[in-house]
Symmetry: C2
Subunit: 263 residues, 2 copies
Amino acid sequence: MREGPPLDDRAFTIDAFHRGRFHLVQPAGKGHRAGLDAMLLAGAVQAGFAGALADLGAGAGAAGFAVAARCPEARVLLVEREPEMVACAQESLRLPANSALASRIEVLQADVELSGSDRAKAGLAENAFDFIIMNPPFNAAHDRASPDPLRRQAHVMDDGLFERWLRTAAAMARPGARVAVIARPASLAQILSALEGRFGSPRAVPVHPRPGVEALRIILRARKGDRGGFALLPPLVLHGETGRGFTARADAIINGREALFAD
Amino acid sequence: MREGPPLDDRAFTIDAFHRGRFHLVQPAGKGHRAGLDAMLLAGAVQAGFAGALADLGAGAGAAGFAVAARCPEARVLLVEREPEMVACAQESLRLPANSALASRIEVLQADVELSGSDRAKAGLAENAFDFIIMNPPFNAAHDRASPDPLRRQAHVMDDGLFERWLRTAAAMARPGARVAVIARPASLAQILSALEGRFGSPRAVPVHPRPGVEALRIILRARKGDRGGFALLPPLVLHGETGRGFTARADAIINGREALFAD
């Protein structure tokens, strides 16, 4: 029998990640299911990371779990607003398959977009984290917007999502802490603008589905207190010219054997 | 004998580009000599381009000559502030080796950073060009700045260079005209900000010296009147893991056999 909030078993699945090194309880519906984005975001944390990491907009906890699985000295706080997703994360922490990780992972139900004293009251501690990773709900803005793809992209650029999320990240970050964001390339200008005065030396890895095809994601890392300019690192290509298999490097990152950034 | 402004022969060289398809008179001193950046910028013009193109900050004219050499229906205006470089471009137009191109290339001595009626008086016609290419003097800001590389990059982000250059480009561009810029990745935020409200659907190609090494340049194209968001295209890699030779694609672009953008 499960403890905690009652979950209807038929509406949830238990999925293996990192080739079985951890499992996640997730809603069976397609909308919120974690996958590639969360695994790539977790890959932004350098090998050997030790300290406190916050996963903002954690969903069922996939990225935070993946960091905990790969970095044995990481302590992870999953921050998620939706009660159903928080319940999933809590269920995942009770799975015997995750017992090796559970003591290093906590879950907080809170809205990342809070500010000032409301944010502190919600439990989002200031100046307390060494690494903050975020997968902001950029597809939500996307879904609300015009069916015209060009207008839709422009809309995503304007809605202040990254400004609000990076404001919270900057408050939670210790001096010298890193932030990592996964987003669509169309959001790059908004992200760079929101980083200004908060995190410096942003470095982005474009993620291309195949060689010769435009990037569908960027994974961007920056550091609190740094003042350096933007750098564009070599891309990650997920698949070859044809076929469904991952490239060797993508497979290593997605399955927690390798980090996306060297240090 | 040469006509036009007197040039000291010892201080100039005549260099072949596109494997001898055109030649350029250039100062022998290292500072202003054209090379890779100009050839890559010229590569941003799609095959078959026909119409009026302005090369802003043309120097000795390398990028503009390269477009004229590859696109037989292009008419090119080279815009350059420095009299010595203008004289070089004029000398190049008189070289017998360039006779096939000279009728399609003009030179204008003018400061790209002028605005309003000063700009029009200087001969920078409004609403008159189908394509504008620019290689702004980003290394000048760089040289003036702090020896600390991080502060230097931040400085380049702040000095308004791209704002002034893209303001002029937007004034000179016809509706639907394209602009192409070559710059350092650290300038991307400043470029995207300066494009806003002027040119849309910016698409950037990162240029990496070798696989696995961060990009040293971006070549970015956008279109007047478009409203789409930023896209990141597959990178151009100049060399292999080792050696001095160019990759096949870089060689084709640098030598005018291929364009960097498909259309």
